[in-house]
Symmetry: C2
Subunit: 381 residues, 2 copies
């Protein structure tokens, strides 16, 4: 395969996909916008709950929707292995398969393959790896990655990239970046479907010169949106924050900017300040399963004995189904008893917490009040 | 304590509780009726899904309700141990605690204590046992059993009884029956709350003379309803069916008749034929968790490879949320992947199957067509 074919630069306006930058906060770099996809519109900044295996764990799609979710993330690696992307395609695509009819972003699987450690080998051609499920051997190239995501039928696809571990030498990070950029060109060239958008991913580790060059090359290739990748992979939080602060402004203003795998509410608030539009993280769902609930007054570990006879809701300021109908004592009982409903109710609450946070963020931006919002939020931590 | 105090015979008309026998099928002993409780009315024959630990496993109360459920069963033994009946009372009772505002029947805990085997000891005074959770020691007498169920605040309480194992000698069964009858008198005497109904339980194993005498004595004590107990405990199915056929007609016609722990759709259809009004069983919920789905064309084991790419619903004749929105392929995927949503969707379907069955049963009775309905149902097995 000739990996030097340089595809023509794509401008915005993939059929059905668009991004409208509606308002820039006057007190910060924060932006309010709208992503338009074939499955509906999404106000930004937005948080995407993770639906790894074709389900946001524990919830029906209606429950996900009811919390205010307007876009979810699906994991290409998992769906490729099980039940298989061709099966999903033959049954009408991921939206129909999982009964979620709003937008879906699929990742490339690159991060999951990276996470396999000794079970994977990366070469110029692509990534060879063994399934975490049954050890079977697989190979994914940038071209195959596009094929899989096109079979899934997501609204937004991500380029296959190599995630650089932390710490990594400059040499390693540079070689990896160059390959990731060649892969990005191959993804862009291989993409067939006009109605699916494709985002490029910035790598380069913690090295500013690499980040800068990578972003310039991605812009040269031309994508529908741009992501900062390779963060939240074990580096100190300051590194993530510094890279976000320094390089978000380099991403094209007229395209959505996505900080992958982030994250904590405070990290979201900080990153929006620098101009990030999109986030995803397993935190609200995974923490819910572990009984850790986000509230307006801090985290609640629901199995704590202090909640045994606590008749109040998890968060008296929360308007979610769980807080409107159940006491901490009941949620603690369900969790201690190992009941499935504990996971359902906790997940509803945590997703609602994130969606309410994003709603407040968007309102603060629209009111040119983001700087004060951020200060207030951080002072409460 | 003097266990010979004979309470005055209770007539129907506990405040808030009533049973109206509305129509008797002309082709069988089947009855259509209505149970009236402080938390609403229940058409009979009725099936009660089991909510062991204050939740019908996997579902929100709205999901339980949406399937047509009008009354659920709560397990006194489990709720007594965890989170504790006093805690539930202090938080406003079981209805409020679990956010289920339709009727609840609580069992006595007798069957669960019986199931503990070596961990329990039964004496005239009551049952001593060790918790299956942490081995702690407990004692429940008929009086304490009433106290617990009154703290839970169920609409229908059950008398504490000793469940006779199968097989049991006549001597054992007779001694046990006599104690169960003395316990029934003690329960009736100890009951304080006017708004909670109390049902008596017929024991006596497979011995007709004991069953007959037991029922006569229960009627003499006087209860708001009568249950056939000690069945579905390992005896051949014919024994259960014969006892139901022979002794259901001896239960007072003007009171609800409850066959405890049954069961299979065909057993329900058969028992309604003999005049049973109420059923409970973990089958729809437990089988759902194991991937076994009831359908109009027989059982579906959803993990079977034949459903891998099956785009059709579990049951094309079913109107449940699961069948309206998801394919067998998706349900199989969720189940194989160990996703919580598999349990949620399977449980919704199985409960809906049982509720639809009961609806058809009630309609057949109202149309004086139960004999033909039963023949048709049995011919399809």
């Amino acid at each position: 395969m000739d990996t030097n074919d340089k595809p023509k630069k794509q401008e915005s306006g993939n059929r059905g996909f668009d991004f409208k930058l509606i308002h820039k906060d006057s007190s910060s770099e924060a932006r309010f916008g709208k992503i338009v996809t074939p499955h509906g519109e999404v106000d930004t900044p937005v948080f995407m709950p993770v639906g790894t295996q074709g389900t946001v764990k524990g919830l029906t799609p209606e429950m996900v929707d009811d919390q205010g979710t307007r876009i979810i993330l699906g994991n290409t690696y998992h769906l490729y292995l099980r039940p298989g992307h061709e099966l999903i395609r033959d049954l009408g695509g991921l939206h129909k398969f999982m009964n979620w009819h709003r937008p879906i972003l699929t990742d490339s699987g690159g991060f999951q393959i990276y996470s396999l450690g000794a079970l994977r080998k990366i070469t110029e051609e692509g990534a060879s790896f063994q399934s975490h499920i049954n050890g079977s051997r697989h190979f994914i190239s940038p071209e195959i990655c596009m094929e899989i995501q096109e079979a899934l039928g997501s609204d937004i696809m991500m380029c296959l990239d190599e995630c650089v571990p932390h710490p990594a030498s400059f040499d390693y990070a540079e070689k990896s970046l160059d390959m990731t950029l060649r892969w990005a060109r191959r993804c862009s060239a291989a993409k067939k479907n006009d109605h699916q958008a494709l985002f490029g991913i910035s790598q380069g580790g913690e090295y500013g010169t690499l980040r800068r060059r990578g972003i310039e090359e991605l812009i040269d290739i031309g994508f529908d949106g741009y992501a900062l990748g390779g963060l939240s992979v074990g580096e100190p939080k300051e590194v993530m924050r510094e890279i976000t602060a320094e390089f978000t402004p380099l991403l094209p203003e007229e395209k959505p900017r996505y900080l992958m795998g982030v994250g904590l509410p405070e990290d979201i608030v900080e990153s929006v300040h620098h101009g990030i539009d999109m986030f995803d993280c397993v935190m609200p769902t995974r923490n819910a399963r572990n009984g850790m609930l986000f509230t307006s007054t801090g985290k609640v570990v629901i199995r704590n004995a202090r909640y045994r006879d606590d008749g109040s809701p998890v968060d008296s300021k929360c308007d979610c189904y769980t807080c409107r109908n159940y006491s901490r004592a009941y949620l603690r009982h369900l969790f201690v008893a190992g009941e499935i409903l504990a996971i359902v109710l906790n997940t509803i609450h945590n997703i609602r917490y994130f969606m309410n946070l994003m709603q407040k963020i968007r309102e603060a931006i629209k009111e040119d009040n983001y700087k004060a919002f951020r200060q207030d939020f951080m002072s409460r931590l």
